[in-house]
Symmetry: C2
Subunit: 230 residues, 2 copies
C-alpha cells in the first residue's frame, strides 16, 4: 500500500527531568528562547528526526542539556491536543528522567537558561506542559512504589534517612523512621559500606549503596520490591 495519501505531522519529545536535593523533589526547566511563548518556562524538548527512534531523540535532548548519559529515562505518553502548540500541529511524546542532581554540568545549564524548581513551586509552563508534569508525577509515585527507581535520584552512596527523605518528598507525607528502615532492610538489596556519614547526626549514619545485581537475581517466590504503605 502507498501511504502517500496520508497526512504527516511534526513529532516532538519533551522530557520531565526529576532531581532530588536531599530535601525537595525538583524539576529542571528552561526558558524557551524562541517563539511562540518565548521567555516562558518549558520542559526540555526537541523534534524527532528521521534517523532515530523516539527513545533516541529523548536521550539526545537530555544529553544536550545535562551532559549526562546512561540516565533512567522512560516514555510517559503521547500528547496530541490539536491546539497544544499554537504555531503548528505538533504531537509530543513525553518522557521522564531521573538524575542525580549533583552530577549535572552546571555550565551547560547556564548556557540553556535552565533552572531547578521545587515540585511544589513550579512556574507557569507553556502549552500543555503542566499536564505532562502531572502525568510524570503520577508515574513516579506509582513506579517508585514497586520498583527500585528511587536510587536513580540519590548519590551512589546514601543513608537510610536520605532514602526516606526522598520517599517523603515523592509521596508528600512522612514515614515512620523505624518502620521505613526495617522495610527497606528486609529487602536485602542494599550493601552497607564501612563508612558513616556524620553530616546530620553526632552518632553518624552508615552509608549504603543499591545492589542492582542482587535485585536482578532476586527471584524468590513472591518477592517484589514494594514500599507500599498507604
Amino acid at each position: 500500500m502507498d501511504y502517500s495519501d496520508k497526512e504527516q505531522f511534526y513529532l516532538a519529545v519533551d522530557c520531565v527531568i526529576f532531581g532530588f536535593d536531599n530535601d525537595h523533589l525538583k524539576l529542571l526547566l528552561y526558558k524557551r528562547d524562541f517563539e511562540p511563548q518565548k521567555g516562558m518556562w518549558s520542559l526540555m524538548g526537541g523534534f524527532l528526526s528521521s534517523g532515530e527512534t523516539l527513545d533516541e531523540a529523548a536521550y539526545r535532548v537530555l544529553a544536550r542539556i545535562t551532559g549526562l548519559r546512561n540516565i533512567f529515562l522512560e516514555q510517559l505518553s503521547a500528547f496530541s491536543k490539536i491546539e497544544r502548540d499554537p504555531a503548528a500541529r505538533v504531537i509530543s511524546v513525553a518522557y521522564y528522567a531521573l538524575i542525580n542532581i549533583h552530577d549535572y554540568d552546571d555550565d551547560l545549564l547556564k548556557q540553556y537558561g535552565a533552572q531547578w524548581f521545587s515540585i511544589n513551586e513550579l512556574p507557569d509552563l507553556i502549552f500543555d506542559h503542566d499536564d505532562i508534569v502531572l502525568k510524570a508525577m503520577q508515574r513516579l509515585k506509582r513506579k517508585a512504589k514497586t520498583q527500585p527507581i528511587g536510587f536513580e535520584l540519590l548519590p551512589e552512596n546514601f543513608t537510610i534517612t536520605q532514602l526516606r527523605n526522598l520517599y517523603e518528598a515523592i509521596y508528600q507525607r512522612t514515614f515512620d523512621p523505624a518502620n521505613f528502615r526495617r522495610k527497606i532492610m528486609s529487602m536485602k538489596l542494599l550493601d552497607r559500606l564501612p563508612i558513616k556519614d556524620k553530616n546530620s547526626s553526632r552518632k553518624g549514619a552508615y552509608l549504603y549503596s543499591f545492589n542492582q545485581e542482587k535485585y536482578e537475581n532476586f527471584s524468590a517466590p513472591g518477592f517484589s520490591f514494594d514500599i507500599s504503605y498507604a
Copy 2:
C-alpha cells in the same frame, strides 16, 4: 519560530481489543487487506488525521470495526522503531480497549475479516504488534489490580464466579473462591440483583452489577480498589 525545517511523519493508531467469553481472555484481530504483509493478522489500526487527537482517532478505528461507542479505551505507548513498517517510517501510538464480547456487531466483524483469538493462542502478527500486545497484557494486569476496569469485559450483570473466572484468565492463576468473594464483597461496590443465574449450578448464583457511582463517591480514608493477592 518556524517549524518548516523540521521533518514530518506518518502517525498511526493501533488498538489492542480485549474481550472475555466467560472462559478465555481474547483479542480481536483482523486480516490485513493491503500490502505490506497483506493477509497476515494485525491489530486494528488507522492513520491520524489532522482534525483529530490520537484518542479520537483510536475511537474512530474502534467504532468503525466494532460498531461500538462508549468503550473503555486508554493509550498504551508510542512505538517508533525505524523499520517497524517496512513500507515507510510510521510512528504508531498504541491503545487498548476493553469490550463486552457479546455486544459487538457480528456483521461488521465479518466484513473486516476480524476474528477473536484466545490470548494463549495468538497467530503471528505483523510488524511489532506482538510487542504492543505484550505491553497491553502488562498494562491490563497492572490496572485490573487497582482499578475496577475488569467489569468492562463482563456483561452488565454477572455472578461472582464469572468475575473470578475473568481475573483468573487475566492473571493466569486460580483464586480461592471463598476469599475472592469476600474480598470483592468487602469493597461494597456491587449491587446484588434479586435474580439468580442457574446456568452453572443447581443452587443458582446471584447476579450483581458494578455500581460506578458508589466507586466514584468512595473517598473513605485509605480505601483503594485492590485485588492484589500475590
